[in-house]
């Protein structure tokens, strides 16, 4: 045990990369599983991005002239499904897998084997979904909501069709997510190091806790809906078939009871990432730590009560519309608390604009924009006007790409030295940032004016007056495709031959920086003891813990 008032030894690690092989094997080490998640989900991100670029190629011209209509339907269906269920949610699970045990001072997750099984369900489930493109009648075509009766009418009539693949794949991903949720909650509640009280947890851990609680108590509703949809599709029942006394609205309720909170399953960890990175690069403590921590729970609780705002146009009674309009707007109060806290953290401090900080700041600014359009959409009269138009598409791309995916990139850069033991190239990182920032805004901003003009989503041909904005959006989309190339190059080259990373390259607080880069198999040589509050930047004796080897 060292004298903990000395600054952290920023030594070069003795632990060397053990080669790539262990990332391809069944491992119960949460760090290996975290990287496996990130790598796998990034591959699905690239595939889903490719689908988006075919969509944007089709939308370059008003005529439907690139792909045929059923294939186009499959493109946007699988683009949405894959981006949400195989990129955003599981990549954040991967980050959480890597970081949560390190941040709370544990040697692994609570149930390491369950953790590994949860991951290994994901690749086959994803491949099942992708493989449905090669079925005789193509993939699922009913959009990522898979609303009946369309999802029941479009399949080919054969027992094996794209829709069945979609249901089975989502069911498997759901099983994996529940396993992960049980594991995260138990880990955070039971595995904290001595002195790591709830109100000393890094905000990222708070957001993972609230997001995983949402997974646990909302995702089962989707599972229930999928079971009934499967019976309708494959076994000839009529739960959702209006012609046979069934009720498709019940599916919509069950679907959105999960899929709205799913937005916060994705957004909350992104907020957590912002809350880690912004203090570290402002060199000042996070403003209003307790409020930010509790706001995560506020968001989680309120988000369970807003799902009907996706169904304002689905013959929803007036009182319900009013109620859900009010609750939807309430979400802005809690997200507002967070945005103000980040602003106050940055306020009057000297900013260090390295790549993670650039991604985080841009993500926060674009999140404010997404939040404003979100409140607009929560208002019933406006929502009924732009329902099913590109305005909605623009809004949620500002959420899932311009906010959450930016946060994921910020996190990958920020923790890259910890994960790999190497420093990444700052120049390539900044190139990636600027290409992404320009590409994302070019691609997704034009969707707002298009939606206001009345362009409906999910169409492959459109009136010629919409063309100019569509060309801008398509060029932005292609630029986004290009923007990942410097990222990939940076990751590969830096991992193989980057400069060795010290324990704490950012001089950040947080237990994960108190161990070597990359951490040893059991994370800490001795169980750390926490005696300080989180984010105590500005203290000249920044020491995080005692009990590490010097």
């Amino acid at each position: 045990m060292t004298d903990s008032t000395h600054p952290l030894p920023n030594d070069i690690p003795q632990v060397q990369m053990q080669g790539w092989g262990h990332y391809l094997r069944f491992s119960t080490d949460h760090k290996v599983i975290g990287v496996q998640y990130l790598f796998t989900t990034f591959l699905f991100f690239l595939m889903a991005g490719l689908l988006a670029m075919i969509i944007r190629a089709e939308l370059l011209t008003p005529a439907s002239n690139v792909v045929d209509r059923p294939f186009y339907n499959g493109l946007f269906t699988l683009h949405g499904t894959m981006m949400i269920f195989l990129w955003v949610i599981p990549s954040l699970v991967g980050l959480a897998n890597y970081l949560v045990p390190l941040m709370i001072g544990a040697d692994d997750m609570a149930f390491p084997r369950l953790n590994a099984i949860a991951f290994w369900i994901l690749p086959p489930a994803g491949l099942l979904l992708v493989s449905s493109f090669f079925l005789p009648h193509g993939s699922a075509q009913a959009g990522w909501w898979s609303y009946p009766p369309i999802s029941l009418q479009l399949p080919s009539g054969q027992p094996i069709n794209g829709e069945v693949f979609w249901i089975v794949s989502l069911f498997l991903i759901g099983v994996s997510s529940i396993m992960g949720g049980v594991n995260f909650i138990t880990t955070i509640v039971w595995m904290r190091a001595p002195g790591m009280t709830f109100f000393r947890l890094p905000i990222f851990v708070w957001t993972v806790l609230s997001a995983q609680l949402l997974q646990l108590f909302c995702l089962p509703a989707l599972t229930g809906a999928l079971i009934l949809l499967f019976f309708d599709l494959a076994l000839g029942t009529h739960f959702f078939d209006p012609l046979e006394n069934g009720d498709p609205i019940i599916y919509q309720h069950l679907f959105w009871f999960y899929s709205h909170p799913a937005v916060y399953v994705m957004a909350l960890p992104a907020f957590g990432i912002f809350s880690e990175i912004i203090p570290a690069f402002s060199r000042s403590p996070l403003f209003g730590y307790r409020s930010v921590a509790l706001a995560s729970f506020g968001i989680a609780v309120v988000s369970v009560t807003v799902w009907v705002h996706h169904m304002f146009a689905s013959a929803t009674p007036g009182w319900m519309r009013l109620l859900f309009m009010a609750s939807s707007m309430l979400v802005a109060v809690f997200t507002g608390i967070k945005v103000f806290a980040w602003t106050a953290t940055v306020w009057k401090s000297k900013l260090h604009l390295e790549t993670p900080m650039l991604f985080a700041l841009a993500g926060v600014v674009m999140f404010v924009f997404a939040g404003i359009t979100g409140v607009m959409l929560a208002a019933v009269p406006f929502d009924l006007h732009v329902n099913n138009t590109y305005f909605v598409v623009g809004h949620f791309h500002y959420v899932v790409y311009n906010t959450i995916t930016m946060a994921i990139f910020a996190a990958i850069y920020y923790w890259f030295p910890k994960i790999t033991g190497h420093l990444y190239s700052e120049g390539w990182g900044k190139l990636h940032f600027w290409l992404t920032l320009v590409g994302a805004n070019l691609a997704f901003f034009p969707m707002h004016p298009l939606g206001l003009q009345g362009m409906v989503r999910r169409i492959s041909s459109y009136p010629p007056e919409y063309q100019s904005w569509n060309v801008v959006a398509s060029l932005g989309g292609f630029l986004l495709g290009v923007s990942v190339l410097p990222f990939i190059a940076n990751i590969i080259v830096s991992w193989m031959s980057g400069l060795p990373a010290p324990r704490n390259p950012w001089h950040a607080t947080g237990l994960e920086w108190a161990t070597t880069s990359p951490p040893p198999e059991k994370n800490f040589d001795e169980t750390p003891v926490v005696r300080r509050p989180p984010y105590d930047y500005g203290d000249p004796k920044v020491t995080v813990t005692e009990g590490q080897n010097s």
Binding site: V189, W190, P220, G246, V529
Partner: protein, 217 residues
Amino acid sequence: MRHIPLDERPIRYDRWIDRLPRWLQRFLPKGGGTAKDHHGKGMFGVTVFLLSESVVFLSLIFAYSALKATTADWLPAGVKGPEVSTFVVINTVVLLSSSAVIQLAERAIKKERLTRFRLLWSLTVLMGSYFLVGQAIEWSQAEFGLRTSIGSSAFYVLTGFHGLHVLVGVLLQLTMLGRSLIPHNYDDGHFGINATTLFWHFVDALWVVLFTIIYVW
């Protein structure tokens, strides 16, 4: 605080947990070395999982209730629907009383009375299997099939999904019974038995809800 050297500060723990009701405190360790408590960790995980699993049932029950409340032709005219009969009541009583039996079995293993445990545990297996066989007989004698109407489909999905859970429970019980024959199996505690018992109570409690909405409503 500022003048006390860092490593002489007392290690804090979550004092607010002390003010919570005692049953809730069992689920919230106060931090500090609790990672070694494998039993507490495991039971916490199982409890969280069961709460999550109950939402799947809730969503199916929601669909069942919403359809039953609004659908015109719940069951075709002249078809006898599921109703409270002696057969169903006996089946229900057997399943519910098996919860008491498994509780006694759990208490027996706590007191390390292994033979008594095996007897009571086997009795639970028998009672669970009796329920499953009874359910199968009920299915085969029903006047309606899966596709007859919305009501009949909902009946089969709900009872089938619950029956699947009963089956899993019985299989878990058989696994634990097999393990109890291994010498020194319980030297490190009996988490598996406690978890299976909790799962079994969950399955039984669900049946009370399902029985009410399927047979009584």
